[in-house]
């Protein structure tokens, strides 16, 4: 293919996409159009909010010390194992340092890119799992206008890479039609696990997709065995770049030592720690970036958009329970099909399983080493369920959905200063971070 043909192909694709958008806009009712404008506002605003002033403050804040400097040491070949997590997050973060040097923009660049990419992957996953473009746009807008994702996109903090890679893994398994798709999913789960070990729990919803959707034979799940191979390979590369021994025995020793250290951390009290069951109600969100200058301070709080967080938690717990109850009681069996078809039910079950599985580790084994940011990935699953339900409701009650989205925009506008690090006095910040556990 010649370059001219490629350029022509891209132009034609863009033109077709534009025409498609115009046609869809024409097919929407007036209320839906207003809702669409608000969704577009949320997406554009969310993108701008993530990018603006991301380099401030020009020093490490919160846990950035584990990732910025460590990434730099990887590039220098200087040994550094003071971060316990696998090396892929830092290896990806190194791209920012190569582009911008070792400064706050350099060490936050790739995390910002993954924060933006999470909106895109969230869009595609919702589109594929609910087979609905509207649900996809809603999910993209909800992720874009949620403080939990915004604050983490602005911080050199590997959890935003983790959530992106996990959603990508689920997208891969949802779109898989042959063993090759399952193999790609295995690789992606291996990559996600090489950012944080907790991503291994993605295997649970991934296996469920294979068994529930039956688009590929059940035995293709053995291709998920690629995940540990990829994980091992990433460790080898990381250790070699850092100037450590990278033979299998050394890798196992480092993994064992890191896991022991992480486990031991769970024995110590930490004022920022919070129990897993408090996460869905946003009891103790963490201010992941905080800097002061004179009488003002800048906050990046991981407090979510309250209009999304509570309904999302209710739905992701309530819908599977409702499904169970309607199966259990013969008299109630007719209610579920009246609202939800089989494909919607499957999607909710997969997402709810992902939500539960990705918290399971913190329920059973991490002791006191559990923090609100561990809820970021489960929360993404909950947001996608919320988007699917809202898209369904919009077909019957477009006005109600417009009111809901408007409320979400208003709440976002109120909390934007403490999500996007605007200069605030203490009173202005406390007016938004109302409860004591919300404050730094």
């Amino acid at each position: 293919m010649t370059p001219a043909k490629m350029v022509r192909g891209v132009v034609e694709t863009g033109r077709a996409a534009w025409q498609d958008a115009v046609d869809r806009w024409g097919a929407q009712g007036r209320i839906q159009r207003i809702t669409s404008c608000l969704l577009a506002f949320m997406i554009v605003g969310g993108v701008i909010l993530r990018i603006q002033g991301v380099g401030y403050p020009p020093h490490n804040t919160f846990d950035e010390q584990f990732y910025g400097p460590t990434t730099h040491h990887i590039l220098l070949g200087v040994p550094d194992l003071h971060d316990f997590h696998p090396p892929l997050g830092k290896l990806l973060g190194a791209i920012g340092l190569l582009l911008f040097g070792f400064n706050s923009v350099g060490w936050r660049f790739m995390y910002l890119c993954f924060g933006l990419q999470t909106i895109i992957v969230g869009f595609w996953l919702t589109r594929e799992i609910f087979a609905s473009r509207r649900a996809a746009w809603l999910a993209a807008a909800f992720i874009a206008a949620d403080g939990f994702f915004i604050a983490h996109s602005r911080t050199a903090f590997i959890d935003i890479m983790l959530v992106c890679m996990i959603l990508w893994s689920i997208l891969a398994v949802i779109t898989a039609r042959t063993w090759r798709g399952i193999a790609v999913t295995g690789i992606l789960i291996g990559l996600a696990t090489s950012i944080k070990w907790s991503a291994a729990q993605t295997l649970v919803p991934a296996v469920l997709v294979v068994l529930l959707y039956r688009r590929v034979p059940w035995y293709t799940i053995f291709w998920f065995g690629l995940a540990p191979i990829v994980h091992f390979f990433i460790w080898m590369v990381g250790l070699r770049l850092m100037g450590h021994a990278s033979d299998p025995a050394a890798i196992l020793a480092v993994i064992r030592s890191s896991m022991t250290s992480l486990h031991d951390l769970g024995k110590f009290d930490n004022p920022l720690a919070s129990a897993w069951y408090t996460w869905p109600v946003f009891y103790h969100p963490i201010v992941v970036k905080l800097s002061s200058s004179g009488t003002t301070s800048r906050y990046a709080s991981s407090l979510g958009n309250l209009v999304f967080s509570f309904p999302a938690a209710l739905l992701i717990v309530g819908l599977p329970l409702a499904r169970g109850l309607t199966t259990w009681r013969v008299a109630w069996r007719r209610y579920w099909p009246a609202f939800f078809d089989a494909s919607f039910t499957r999607a909710v079950l997969v997402l709810a399983t992902g939500w539960a599985a990705l918290q399971a580790l913190f329920v059973v084994s991490m002791g006191k080493h559990s923090f609100f940011y561990h809820y970021l990935t489960p929360y993404a699953f909950a947001i996608i369920v919320l988007a699917g339900v809202v898209a369904k409701l919009e077909r019957r009650w477009p006005r109600a959905v417009l009111a809901y989205v408007t409320l979400a925009v208003l709440v976002a506008l109120y909390f934007v200063p403490v999500w996007g690090e605007f200069a605030l006095t203490l009173q202005e910040a406390n007016r938004r971070l109302i409860f004591l556990p919300w404050r730094p």
């Binding site: 024409g26 097919a27 929407q28 009712g29 839906q32 990018i51 380099g55 020009p58 020093h59 490490n60 910025g68 400097p69 730099h72 040491h73 220098l76 070949g77 200087v78 040994p79 791209i95 582009l99 911008f100 040097g101 070792f102 400064n103 706050s104 923009v105 350099g106 660049f109 790739m110 910002l112 890119c113 993954f114 990419q117 895109i120 992957v121 595609w124 589109r127 594929e128 087979a131 609905s132 473009r133 509207r134 649900a135 990508w168 997208l171 891969a172 779109t175 039609r177 042959t178 090759r180 798709g181 790609v184 850092m242 100037g243 450590h244 021994a245 898209a391 919009e394 077909r395 477009p398």
Partner: protein, 205 residues
């Protein structure tokens, strides 16, 4: 011919008037079954999107000089960087601490070659002689000029003491052996070690 599912209207009945500016009826937004056979299309789109996102953000930051604005504020553990470090010592460390390597950085080198013979038979100035130290947060590095900067051992405390210096990193050394006692053996460093010059050392009061 009319479809049987559509009720025919009587020719005598008046046709209902069309409402002015009819509002489009909201269409269900369920995607049709995919006709795309390539299962990797969506993954390719999203993968390309990551490249595009990264490229666009990089272009914006580069074009506006945004990265440069923050460049001078880095932490200093990089080649060419300067940072403040804290080390604890005893006076005897001047004789105790030594390294062995054939590599020199901007004139700075270890007291011994890799074969553990003296590097310079005439003896080297302290500001050119690399020694191994650990910072108080347990980072191993090779530094030259510490004792020279402190004014040698004249007024140094007899007990263990702490000093703060500016450390200018000039490189990283992988093949060094380290000694921590004057009569002790050299042991190879397992990992690469930062190399640099220590200046303006002070004993915090």
């Amino acid at each position: 011919m009319a479809s049987p599912s559509i009720p025919e209207t009587s020719p005598a009945a008046p046709a209902p008037a069309a409402p002015p500016n009819p509002e489009p009826v909201p269409q269900p937004d369920v995607l049709p079954p995919s006709k795309v056979t390539g299962e990797f299309n969506v993954l390719c789109y999203t993968f390309l999107m990551l490249f595009m996102v990264s490229f666009i953000v990089w272009a914006i930051f580069s074009w506006t000089g945004y990265g440069q604005r923050y460049a001078p504020h880095a932490d200093g553990w990089y080649k060419g960087g300067t940072r403040s470090i804290e080390v604890t010592l005893v006076r005897e460390d001047m004789q105790n601490l030594a390294c062995a390597s054939d590599v020199a950085f901007e004139g700075m080198h270890c007291a011994f070659r890799a074969n553990q013979k003296p590097f310079d038979l005439q003896g080297a100035e302290d500001r050119l002689l690399l020694r191994p130290y650990y910072t108080v947060d347990q980072v191993l590095f090779l530094g030259a000029g510490l004792w020279n900067s402190l004014g040698m051992t004249g007024q140094l405390p007899k007990e263990r003491f702490s000093i703060v210096c500016n450390y200018h990193m000039v490189g990283s050394l992988k093949s060094a052996s380290l000694r921590w006692q004057a009569t002790g053996p050299f042991a190879p460093a397992k990992d690469a070690v930062p190399v640099g010059l220590l200046t303006e050392c002070v004993i915090p009061q």
